[in-house]
């Protein structure tokens, strides 16, 4: 009897799982939705969006004729981050260059710059930064500061003295931007793919009318949910592993943690996203509504997950909400596994919330599908 029961369940479930997989993989459009955006985003995020400042243009208004102002100008011109130095001869010219966004910052050295230095005092120069590009501007100021400090120590003819404060960045000593972004992307891309696949799944069947067909068959609501979870889980896992492999081998991000701790976390993460996706799908009447729903939930979720801005900087209420977003927890796990060899206990601290979210969202999805029968 028990064996009969098992085979019976398996047969029905198997038929549905095959159906779900085929619906995603046989449709050129859904293949595109599933696989194209992750690859595109991987390229865009890693190459196009970077916080480092490169190829900056700087204007120099040098009113001094002394040695040190030329030294300063030469060092700026030689700096790696600088693309071109504009030499200007009056304030108006300088203002115009910033106005037209030709330069991001301008150096203004007064006529007494070299004389003050030679006299043993401090040479003063003014840096004018384009505040419209505040982030890149600040970084540029930092670079210029370093150059000025070097000029200063050369002027005192002292051997290069160690600065009083030495900053050392742990886990990413050179602050390589990609080390941070690429592992996080694996989470974000899997998040969107799994959300999309599942958000469309019930809505598509409802549009076709096959959902009614499914509901009158002997299959149970739980089986429907399981059948829709499995393919999304499989495809999400494949995508996630591809991203992780790309990070480790293509971009050379050091993978210091345990793969065997990361994998189950990835599965739990996808299961919790699938639950959210199915909830969206259960309340959508059409695929269009489902896509709208997925974006309405997905975009704020990514913004609040701690990918772009630290969760700790958000107002308390939003921090609580962020705890309900699967991505928040998975980002901690994936960043930690890549860069800081996160120990099992710390990973566990972030996986149990994932398990809770998965349980709650999948249960709610089941109940929503059931209640839509009313």
């Amino acid at each position: 009897m028990r064996r009969l029961f098992n085979t019976w369940i398996n047969g029905r479930l198997r038929a549905q799982i095959v159906k779900e997989l085929l619906s995603i993989l046989r449709d050129p459009r859904s293949r595109l939705i599933v696989f194209a955006p992750p690859l595109l985003q991987l390229l865009i995020f890693t190459f196009a969006t970077t916080l480092e400042v490169r190829n900056a243009n700087i204007a120099v208004y040098n009113q001094d004729t002394g040695h040190w102002s030329y030294e300063m100008e030469a060092r700026v011109g030689a700096a790696e981050f600088v693309n071109k130095v504009y030499t200007v001869h009056n304030r108006d010219q300088l203002r115009r260059l910033i106005d037209q966004r030709k330069v991001i910052a301008a150096l203004d050295m007064g006529p007494d710059f070299s004389r003050d230095i030679v006299a043993g005092g401090t040479g003063k120069l003014q840096v004018i930064v384009d505040g419209r590009r505040s982030n890149a501007g600040q970084i540029t100021v930092g670079y210029l500061n370093a150059i000025a400090a070097n000029v200063g120590s050369a002027a005192r003819k002292e051997p290069q003295r160690a600065s009083p404060v030495v900053v050392r960045h742990w886990f990413n000593p050179n602050l390589i931007y990609r080390w941070f972004v690429v592992p996080a992307l694996s989470g974000i891309l899997v998040f969107f793919s799994a959300l999309m696949i599942t958000a469309l799944s019930i809505a598509r069947e409802r549009e076709l009318g096959t959902f009614d067909q499914l509901l009158v068959s002997p299959t149970t609501t739980l089986e429907i949910i399981v059948a829709k979870t499995v393919p999304a889980l499989a495809i999400g896992t494949v995508l996630g592993l591809m991203m992780i492999a790309a990070a480790a081998f293509l971009f050379g991000v050091p993978f210091t943690g345990s793969f065997w701790l990361l994998l189950p976390s990835l599965l739990l993460f996808i299961a919790s996203v699938v639950g959210i996706g199915l909830m969206i799908s259960a309340v959508s009447a059409t695929q269009q509504q489902a896509i709208m729903g997925a974006f309405a939930i997905g975009v704020p979720a990514v913004l609040m997950s701690g990918f772009a801005t630290p969760v700790e900087n958000m107002p308390l209420v939003l921090q609580w909400i962020a705890q309900g977003i699967p991505l928040t927890h998975f980002l901690v796990i994936v960043e930690g596994t890549f860069l800081k060899a996160m120990p099992a206990s710390d990973i566990l601290a972030n996986t149990w919330p994932l398990a809770v979210i998965a349980l709650v969202s999948l249960t709610l999805a089941t109940l929503l599908v059931r209640s839509r029968l009313q």
């Binding site: 038929a15 076709l208 009318g209 009158v216 002997p218 149970t220 029968l373």
Partner: protein
């Protein structure tokens, strides 16, 4: 008197000329030939029916006539203008109402009309008279402030018609105006079109309902892109004089009699008509065979008037045979109880709106039971509660003695369900669809393979196994849907509008299977809006405004509506009669309430 405020000068000038000249027009979309090159003329002051099953090319021709499509060959001249060269002018002289008229559902009736007037470049303030006459003409006056989305199907069509008439067209093209419209509103549409043609306008009415052809003055009959007939419908039915017969007095055996009749070489077509069987003999066939059959089964044979549908089927070489290979393979259904489906005081409310209002009935085993009614009457809601897709607000529904809301998987496998528009997985191949339905009903291993092979053989699906259901011809799509819903041999079969949008020949094949299944004891629940299809049912439940207004055999319903006006009423007449008396009753009740 003028029903429409259009000026008649242009029409009078052109009256001697045809309104539309179709000259060997051809159109293909890729490999699909929608129109295969034919010529015809459409005249002013006449209602011309553009008749044919779905996919015959009606809409393509309509869109070419309005200049929305460019033909691949030939030409069309409308009101003296070439539809390609004078494209801009075409939109001024023609009015076009597509299948789904582009009404803005969130705008009111009046706002929709204003919008269409403005799109035509009319100043809405100066044309109050046009609005008034159109509202009076369509009888939409009391509803000007109602949102278009909240109108009934019939009222939407009337509003669409009003918008299409805004530009005072010389030629009015209506693409399937009667789809989704209840018989009462349909009468209204006919009346309006009649007034327009009396006024000199050329009106083209395209339809897949062949019975509507008989109401047109002239008919263009299309099938698979070819013009099969051009002329008054009477001319076509006259060819079938003395070839249509009715076998009466066979009530208990009528399905067997029909099957035997259809298998006769001399019979080209046949259907169930209430308690009788209606047959059409092939051209040049003698009456001997059918006489012999009538004698054998003790039936009376009487000659009846030919219908347009008879003529259409005859033109295409007759319908399918009477034997269902599917039913032949089935074992007779055994059920413990004689009642297969029952419901008591079944009620469903959505908020304030009552979709089904305490409906009760019982369906016997092996019965074909029809739920009939206009869109929005509550038949779909009732149907969905019966098969467990909706939870009743009050009352109970049982299938084979089980409440499907609480039923286990085993109980659910007692019913088969075929949803409207053949719900198949378009992304899966035909074979994968069959395997899915077998799997989801728990079939496994050898029995699964056997059952699938059987369905493939019965329905001739072998050439299509690798294709997507979306690419199948309509008839095969229907076969596949039926195969999927019968894979697990259910004793009760639910069919939701199974033949909407299907050509008459495919419809006959479908009913051959259903008749065969019923003879094996399968109980069939069917919803339909084809009035003549109701005649195939053993009993019909008529629904109107959420209530069950009548429940009887088709013959009894027709008999009850007999009047001096309609001595031999059709199902449609019976329906209209029932609806009108239900309305009268409602009025009487409100009056009584007001008096109290």
């Amino acid at each position: 008197m003028s029903a429409h405020p259009a000026s008649n000068t242009t029409r009078e000038r052109g009256k001697d000329h045809p309104a539309v000249i179709i000259d060997s027009v051809a159109k293909h979309f890729g490999e699909v030939h929608a129109l295969r090159g034919f010529s015809a003329e459409i005249h002013y002051g006449r209602l011309t029916g553009l008749v044919g099953p779905d996919g015959a090319g009606k809409t393509t021709l309509m869109r070419i006539m309005t200049g929305l499509l460019v033909p691949n060959g030939g030409s069309v001249t409308l009101a003296g203008l070439d539809v390609v060269k004078d494209n801009d002018a075409i939109h001024v002289v023609s009015g076009y109402m597509p299948q789904r008229f582009g009404l803005y559902e969130d705008l009111s009736v009046l706002e929709n009309m204003r919008l269409y007037a403005q799109l035509r470049g009319m100043n809405t303030d100066q044309h109050a008279d046009i609005f008034e006459s159109l509202l009076e003409f369509t009888r939409l006056g009391p509803f000007t402030q109602r949102l278009a989305g909240k109108l009934s199907g019939g009222m939407k069509q009337k509003l669409g018609l009003a918008c299409a008439l805004m530009a005072k067209p010389e030629v009015l093209l209506l693409d399937e105006p009667s789809v989704g419209v209840d018989p009462v509103s349909r009468q209204d549409l006919w009346r309006m079109v009649q007034e327009l043609t009396d006024d000199g306008m050329a009106v083209v009415w395209s339809t897949a309902y062949l019975d509507e052809a008989e109401r047109c003055e002239s008919v263009l009959l299309l099938n698979e892109g070819k013009l099969e007939f051009d002329g008054p419908p009477q001319q076509l039915t006259d060819r079938l004089k003395q070839r249509s017969f009715r076998l009466t007095g066979v009530s208990g055996e009528r399905r067997t009699v029909l099957a035997r009749a259809l298998d006769l070489g001399s019979v080209g077509d046949g259907v169930i008509q209430g308690d009788a069987v209606r047959v059409v003999l092939r051209a040049d066939a003698g009456r001997e065979e059918i006489n012999a059959l009538a004698n054998q089964v003790g039936a009376q044979l009487e000659s009846v008037q030919a219908r347009f549908e008879d003529a259409f089927i005859d033109l295409l070489g007759g319908g399918p045979g009477g034997t269902s290979a599917l039913a032949d393979r089935m074992d007779p259904v055994k059920l413990d109880s004689d009642i297969a489906v029952s419901c008591t005081d079944l009620t469903k409310r959505f908020g304030d709106f009552t979709a089904t209002d305490s409906v009760s009935f019982e369906v016997r085993r092996g019965e074909i039971f029809g739920l009939l009614g206009p869109n929005g009457a509550g038949k779909s809601t009732t149907f969905k509660m019966l098969c467990g897709l909706l939870k009743p607000t009050a009352g109970e529904a049982h299938v084979v003695g089980l409440d499907l809301r609480r039923a286990t998987g085993a109980a659910k496998s007692q019913l088969g369900y075929m949803a409207q528009k053949f719900s198949l997985y378009g992304l899966l191949s035909v074979r994968q669809n069959l395997e899915f339905s077998a799997g989801v009903y728990g079939l496994e291993g050898a029995s699964k393979r056997e059952r699938i092979d059987e369905m493939i053989e019965t329905f001739d699906l072998t050439p299509y196994l690798g294709t997507s259901p979306d690419a199948l011809p309509l008839g095969y799509k229907q076969r596949l849907a039926l195969a999927c819903s019968l894979m697990h041999r259910p004793p009760v079969l639910f069919l939701d509008e199974p033949t909407s949008g299907v050509d008459p020949i495919t419809r006959r094949e479908f009913w051959t299977h259903i008749n065969g299944l019923a003879r094996k004891g399968v109980t069939v629940m069917v919803t339909t809006h084809f009035m003549d299809e109701a005649e195939y049912c053993d009993r019909v439940a008529m629904m109107y405004r959420a209530r069950l207004i009548a429940l009887d055999t088709p013959d009894a319903l027709k008999r009850d509506s007999r009047s001096d006006q309609h001595p031999d009423p059709t199902m449609e007449d019976a329906f209209i009669h029932l609806v009108e008396s239900a309305d009268l009753e409602d009025e009487a009740r409100t009056d009584a309430k007001a008096a109290a």
